[in-house]
């Protein structure tokens, strides 16, 4: 048997369905790979060996009974530690939830189980999904399999690194400002942020509720589409979930894989050109634009005049929502409690608990949000940011009257060295320059590998209208058919 960890999810599911290999064998191969390399990568915060093997045995038993198997049955998946998993530790990369074992599964995890996928464990992330490098995890940074002295992106660096290190063929992320797409770009993997409301937030530990979107990560566009299909769709437990059919992303990925983009109009955002992407990133992007043209796409330039205000608007809206959401971490119902010596008041215990439990980036964002929502500042900061959000949405709406999708580099720079941007928090925020507009608008976006710069992966982002997730999969799959997947050096 060839190395099972190098196969795509589609290939693994095929081998399990035909009986050429078993789900247990596939799972064990990935657990062995994790044991061999994760000491150097630190993609996983928790490996659920017993749970994974039990789930794999169930798939093998179903097959033995002749029960029908879903398209991802027996395929291992790594889950970002932002999603609750019943009885399995869920920390959100924070000390404040260290040791917490949730009493329920998130909807995404329920659907992964129902699809017959095998959850290997929980992946590392920036604390509460706030960051672009996974360096803000309370449990140490994840390292990029392309160069272990560099960041794997964030906040979902663990999920992306697990894919690039062949520890898992599929992973789940969550994207509030780019936390699926930017890690995908810098690890040479595929990451898709579905339309907001297209995937359920039930059981997703909240950071910024009007932006948080769980989504698929994979090494190929088709694998990402299959995972998207498995987890997406209306959930009555999430009141912002969209009650409409899931766009046929799998068919779109298969159509795109034919390499024909005739009749597809793609827009390049004029305002992004002057935004200081590294020359190597721009060179790889421009080459990908030529490739898309050769595949039949028509490329036009589109002005989105308010995109340059997306980053400041985001860093008011997201911290504001975070300051409210994270009030629930008060040392009462779950997680850490510090200083309860019988003499201190509830308020003192809360303040000591939050001081000890939260890391510096989370504290910064809680305080920024508290400031932006204060009376006297509300109109100038949070209120104004919400108006800018309207104008950004109008830019997107106008653009999609002229083109089917927008394209850009996913992130302005390739994976940077660990520690390069932690001293100046605002420098870290710039990693999300190109991904944030989509979150404010609520539409879908995908990052697909488009080449290398200085030996490190570069991602191309495709942004589509809300509930037209299929369009981005078609374009991404077409580019992938021409560029191919990227293979990191051996660890």
């Amino acid at each position: 048997m060839s190395d099972l960890t190098k196969l795509s999810a589609v290939e693994i599911a095929g081998l399990v369905a035909s009986g050429e290999t078993s789900a247990v064998e596939v799972t064990q191969a990935h657990l062995d790979r994790i044991a061999a390399v994760d000491g150097r990568v630190n993609a996983f915060l928790h490996v659920d060996t017993e749970g994974a093997l039990t789930a794999a045995r169930e798939v093998d038993a179903q097959r033995a009974e002749g029960a029908p198997l879903g398209p991802l049955a027996g395929v291992p998946v790594a889950v970002k530690d932002v999603l609750t998993t019943k009885g399995v530790p869920t920390t959100v990369g924070s000390k404040i939830l260290q040791g917490w074992r949730p009493p329920y599964d998130s909807t995404i995890v329920q659907r992964l189980r129902a699809a017959g996928t095998v959850m290997l464990g929980k992946t590392n992330m920036d604390e509460f999904a706030m960051g672009s490098s996974t360096e803000y995890s309370a449990y140490g940074p994840t390292r990029n399999p392309w160069d272990t002295e560099r960041i794997p992106g964030g906040s979902g660096g663990g999920s992306a690194a697990a894919l690039a290190a062949y520890e898992a063929p599929l992973a789940i992320g969550s994207d509030t400002g780019g936390s699926i797409r930017q890690p995908g770009a810098v690890t040479g993997t595929v990451g898709a942020k579905p339309t907001y409301g297209g995937t359920s937030r039930y059981g997703l530990v909240a950071f910024s509720s009007s932006l948080d979107t769980p989504g698929p990560c994979a090494r190929t566009v088709l694998d990402a589409a299959l995972l998207h299909e498995a987890i997406a769709g209306h959930d009555p437990r999430d009141s912002t979930s969209i009650a409409a059919p899931v766009p046929d992303v799998v068919a779109a990925a298969r159509l795109g894989a034919t390499g024909d983009l005739t009749g597809v109009r793609l827009g390049i955002v004029t305002e992004f050109a002057g935004e200081g992407a590294e020359p190597g990133v721009m060179a790889a992007f421009n080459e990908a634009v030529d490739t898309l043209t050769k595949l039949g796409a028509e490329i036009v330039e589109i002005s989105c005049p308010h995109f340059k205000y997306a980053l400041p608007a985001y860093y008011l809206i997201a911290p504001s929502e975070c300051s409210s959401n994270l009030a629930r971490f008060d040392g009462v119902r779950f997680g850490l409690r510090v200083g309860d010596d019988g003499n201190r008041s509830l308020e003192e215990v809360m303040s000591l608990t939050r001081e000890a439990g939260f890391g510096p980036e989370v504290k910064r964002r809680i305080m920024i949000g508290t400031y932006a929502l204060s009376s006297g500042y509300y109109d100038a900061y949070y209120g104004q940011a919400q108006k800018v959000r309207t104008l950004i949405t109008r830019d997107f709406t106008a653009a999609f009257e002229r083109v089917d999708a927008l394209i850009s580099p996913t992130t302005p720079f390739v994976a940077f060295p660990l520690g390069a941007r932690t001293a100046d928090p605002y420098q870290m925020y710039l990693a999300d320059l190109f991904t944030i507009p989509t979150n404010l608008y609520g539409g879908p976006g995908i990052s697909v590998p488009c080449g290398l710069a200085g030996g490190l992966p570069v991602g191309l982002q495709v942004m589509a209208p809300t509930m037209a997730d299929d369009r981005m999969y078609r374009v991404a799959a077409a580019l992938e058919s021409a560029v191919g997947t990227l293979t990191p050096p051996a660890l």
């Binding site: 308010h306 860093y315 008011l316 215990v349 939050r354 001081e355 305080m367 940011a385 928090p425």
Partner: protein, 101 residues
């Protein structure tokens, strides 16, 4: 000019229930100042007559049928609590003793 003073950061920390150290106050004051000066750019946009967007999905009043479904047992709901007593979350005292007595 600084957008935010050390004293204002100390006030924000109190509002945020964060018992920050003196050293942290020094660090955060500088960092929050850089961030707030940068995000203040939103003020450049002429948007007086623009309605705000709080949410990208235009939904209001999402209803579901009132159907009884299984939920967590008290034991499950309390399973992660730092302290519990008689099926309740136990918290440090809220009232001063002379008030409570």
């Amino acid at each position: 000019m600084a957008a935010i003073s050390r004293e204002e950061v100390a006030h924000l920390a109190r509002l945020s229930r964060l018992a920050v150290t003196e050293e942290e106050l020094d660090t955060f004051a500088g960092q929050l100042d850089v961030i707030l000066q940068a995000v203040a750019q939103v003020g450049e946009v002429a948007a007086a007559d623009i309605p705000p967007t709080s949410h990208s999905v235009p939904l209001t009043n999402v209803f579901r049928d009132d159907v009884v479904t299984p939920c967590l047992t008290p034991q499950e709901a309390l399973s992660g609590a730092p302290d519990a007593e008689e099926q309740r979350f136990r918290v440090p005292r809220i009232l001063d003793e002379d008030v409570a007595s």
